[in-house]
Amino acid sequence: MASTAVSNPAVNNSDRSLLRRKKKKKIPNQNQNLRNQAQAAQTEWKSDTQQQAYSSKLLQALRRVRITGGAAPKGGRAVRDAADRVLAVAAKGRTRWSRAILTNRIKLKFMKNSASHKRQRVTVTTGNSRWQKKPRVSILRLKTKNLPAFQRKARVLGRLVPGCRKQPLPVILEEATDYIAALEMQVRAMTALTQLLSGASSSSSSSSASSSSSSSVNALNQLGSSRHPPAS
């Protein structure tokens, strides 16, 4: 839009006023683009292909965790870390929380600072104790934005979503929206994976229900073979 104004050098004053008006209009247009991107990302987290891709990548990561299980923390924590890492990779760097998860991994790897883990857990428990108080305001007009109760809840939310501790309110809200969609997909994928694996293990140990084992084998096969091309 600014280019059309520049290409008509006939009337300078109107061009300048046009540019000024168009600069003001740019901001809502940018917001509209961001909103469309956010909506597209939202639907993507719900898609089956995204879940399949996540599940297969998670399987690969878990297999790596098992084989090199010596140095890494064992048990559920290792699985949780791998699941979060694969989730962050699936976000393709579009969101702050995904980038924060990946950079935290690298920081922890190189600095071997497990104190940050403990610090995170401590903040979560103190946040729990705050929810005893009921919110006193019950109107949706945004005069509540400046109330201390609202600000407090916004800060707690900022601490829950990775990478959003010092971000302003609209950033926290946007990141939380995408983060919730991603977490829901993570839960769906891991639940399906757990059912598959428990079905496969129970049927292989009993070796009587061949049909169920073959169906779970087929599902595992699909997960293993559904590989997306490397991200361009």
Partner: protein, 93 residues
């Protein structure tokens, strides 16, 4: 509203509008299973934030539980099933 006008004059510098935040909060409300069907007049923004925090925490707990179960499943099935997974994964690695 005069309050909105004065606020927008202040927030024009920071480029954050009330409408933007209201929009984001309502979008967040649509995601929450607890608040999805309530009309937005009766739900305060603080309530939405509180439910968001609770929901994220419960999702974290679910992921932790699932991680525990997955790690047990992968650890305990050292027999044919692990070999099965390994063979499946090694086919396309």
């Amino acid at each position: 509203m005069s309050s909105r006008r004065s606020r927008s004059r202040h927030s024009a510098a920071s480029r954050i509008t009330d409408d933007q935040i209201i929009d984001l909060v309502s979008k967040l409300q649509q995601l929450l299973p607890e608040l999805r069907n309530r009309c937005s007049d009766k739900v305060s923004a603080a309530r939405v934030l509180q439910e968001t925090c609770n929901y994220i925490r419960s999702l974290h707990r679910e992921v932790d539980d699932l991680s525990e179960r997955l790690s047990e499943l992968l650890a305990n099935s050292d027999t044919s099933q692990a070999a099965l997974i390994r063979s499946l994964l090694s086919q396309q690695s």
